[in-house]
Symmetry: C2
Subunit: 522 residues, 2 copies
Amino acid sequence: MAQENMAREGVAREGGRRRGERRQGGGGIRQLPFQTLRNPLKPIEILAPDQVEAIHDASLDLLERVGLEVLHGESIDILARAGADVDRGTGKVRLDRGLVMEAVSHAPPVFTIHARNPAHDLEFGANHLVFTATGGPAFASDTERGRRAGNYADMCDYIRLVQSLNVLHQDGGTAVEPTDLPPETRHLDFYEATLRLTDKGWHSWGMGTACVLDGIELTRLAYGVTAEEMLQRPVMMTIINSNSPLRLDVPMGQGLVEMARHGQALVLTPFTLAGAMSPVTIGGALMQQNAEALAMVALAQLVRKGAPVVYGGFTSNVDMRTGSPAFGTPEYTKAALATGQLIRRYRLPYRSSNVNASNCVDVQSTYESAMSLWGTIMGGVNLLAHAAGWLEGGLTASFEKLIVDCEMLQLMRETFRPIATDPASLGLEAIAEVGPGGHFFGVGHTLERFESAFYTPMLSDWRNFETWSESGARTGTERAHRIWKELLAAYREPALDPARREAMAAYVARRKREIASGKALP
Amino acid sequence: MAQENMAREGVAREGGRRRGERRQGGGGIRQLPFQTLRNPLKPIEILAPDQVEAIHDASLDLLERVGLEVLHGESIDILARAGADVDRGTGKVRLDRGLVMEAVSHAPPVFTIHARNPAHDLEFGANHLVFTATGGPAFASDTERGRRAGNYADMCDYIRLVQSLNVLHQDGGTAVEPTDLPPETRHLDFYEATLRLTDKGWHSWGMGTACVLDGIELTRLAYGVTAEEMLQRPVMMTIINSNSPLRLDVPMGQGLVEMARHGQALVLTPFTLAGAMSPVTIGGALMQQNAEALAMVALAQLVRKGAPVVYGGFTSNVDMRTGSPAFGTPEYTKAALATGQLIRRYRLPYRSSNVNASNCVDVQSTYESAMSLWGTIMGGVNLLAHAAGWLEGGLTASFEKLIVDCEMLQLMRETFRPIATDPASLGLEAIAEVGPGGHFFGVGHTLERFESAFYTPMLSDWRNFETWSESGARTGTERAHRIWKELLAAYREPALDPARREAMAAYVARRKREIASGKALP
């Protein structure tokens, strides 16, 4: 036993002499290059096949017997025309399983979202894996300034960091809500800033017709494409949450219908917290989630066959003592694995999230995120929303958590790199050359490969205790603080045709005047 | 998007009114009960079947062509008698693949280790999963007193905590080395303290004949069993590390032979750090690990057919910049998954470890541990050594890390609990009862199940930001500090027959006198 530890000391001494201490600070932050990603690992299956069928069947029973309450008139009309049993007085819509499954069958199993920079185009579905930054938090926080209400400056800094962090494929849409701006025109400033500060893809808001149409217009101007081109080549995504249990409200219905009509991608996500908005069992929450998600997928396909959609899973549980949502729990992990099994049954792209319920960037936020990452990724997730930065159950976007999560995402990504087992890689001759009791630091087999043999971390500090102590004994969270500051200092805005930029600014100015004068829709 | 976060606030308000705030402090630490464990999940396979064969074949080539350097005379004799090609001048032993595989075939796929308390008996192999506390560190640390040289008082406190933490199945053997005691008799104090302070199973030291024989004698006295009974019912384990690459030294050879001869369990673990003691490729490190592990398993079986053995995997990589060992890396995770595939080929129990290279209990120590836990557990590990408490690449046993790790182990354990999908669990009637837009806090389906529906954490704090801030804004590491102190304050020594206790004390006193007078062996 002690052997294992004595060996550590010996190795550190030996290697330290050879390669020198790790360079600190100075020449920028080390990170992996941008790269689209496929998950080569076979998903973990936590449900037996008959359990998947039991949840599937019960969810369709639920849609037939209880149905959905739809508050959006146009959505009711669309569902009624397709043959749903509609009570216009109450908004109750009961959906036959044949109707649902026929409509769902038109959803594409894989689709592409085009970014402003074509190098950042992304595929969704199959075993593609997309990491998207957090979106939606009402607060911003960092360890220096603490927690504050979301504001425009923090939002812009967050977008700059998302652009700078290569492991992130996509912006999540308002990492921090700019609550210092007027609510009725806030979306315009958010859209304009995102489309200017990053050339990665993004998520617009989906709450209401104006939100969606303004997003489409601004994206068109930023990308320099026509409305017709956008219809063939989707460039936007938005998340639509049902109001679980079993309700679709007016703004969400509007957002769903407009996005589908324009051929832009919908991430249709019930929010089924077991014990609060869904049954207290994970099986029950999954069943209700499946009913709501399938109903929304069906509605989108009834609007436009082949509209790009993602089935969103957001099943977790509440803490039954406080009623607070719990995230990154074993229940969350299991639900993420099981959701993947259900979704593969329908051959749809799968969205889930990297979540935690901690109030600070600490061990809890980290192990809850780890439970989320492994559950979702081994569940076969395609779009990992809130992949970096989410804190405090999603109320806060943390600058340090953004960095910690990106390191964790890099670890997951590197785990996908295959192990080579060809004879040269196995290196039998190198072992023979070194011989019993020797070491491999200086042999040719090592020298030919050591530069790229192993993952190089962005955040982890592997120096020995003494060196680490002498240089300030900084925790990972403290180092994360320095990293985002260095990245922000080094940020350069991606190139954007000045004519497009001016057109966007003019659109925003015009729409602000219109909204002030009572014209809600563009 | 914002919907997901608004919902969180609504739920917290609703539930908080209903169930009240979580009780803090006072009536003890909440934790899961002691329970033996099986891992129901199918392992992740990262290697294709032909890759497993390639590593297997090359490792047997290595034993045939290069062989092992064995410095222990008796081990050489045993291998020579079995037909190995031995050069007694150099200690070089080349092993035919037929010899190796025939010997390995005698190792039991599953065996039981009996503890002082029969409720703590453990099975190793198949899908059994045992969590063992850290063993071996030279330093102890906690956030109040900092890092200090290992000492007897810290060692005893650590054993008390291992006894108190239900998720830990087994003590790891000297979580902290008592460096304040004379080295030549230190093992006696360690053994006596462990056998007295915990009634869970344990790991003795394996370095040399005296260490093993003293361990056997003291265990016999503590458990009240005869040497003959021990031979049929193993009660001890020890880890034997080969001196990678390809060497077995005298103390380790002695330990291996004595333990096997007495029918006690051996955890045979090469320490193959890629780039230092093994090739710079993970494939090469795994291949060398396989050669060394199989050679040691074969040797144990040649000593005594059917001797209980565990194949230990400890493949990680060094940081090529500093030469420091890196742990909890993607390479470690992949090696842990691949090692499981190799071991299942031989139907042997699998040992691996929960490792990290951080210098403090922070986000890094946590995400590196998470990578280790998921890699080893989804690799099908049976004995998870260093499952809790390891810090700083194994140089330090941390009191706070012990608690953080136990929370993480609890999360993994709860992930194994099956999802119920019977109609009552799915709760279609409950959803119909609640109806669209309602909530589930008060319905019968919830009230019947909420007490045991979800995992209750030991360490995580799910209170909202305001309540958490008002009560001190403590990080997870700070809360872990309070938890271990409370557990230690509440510790009670498990019952032990005073006659056995006196016999142990008398044995230790006699052996100390003998060792002082030059009699090394009991």
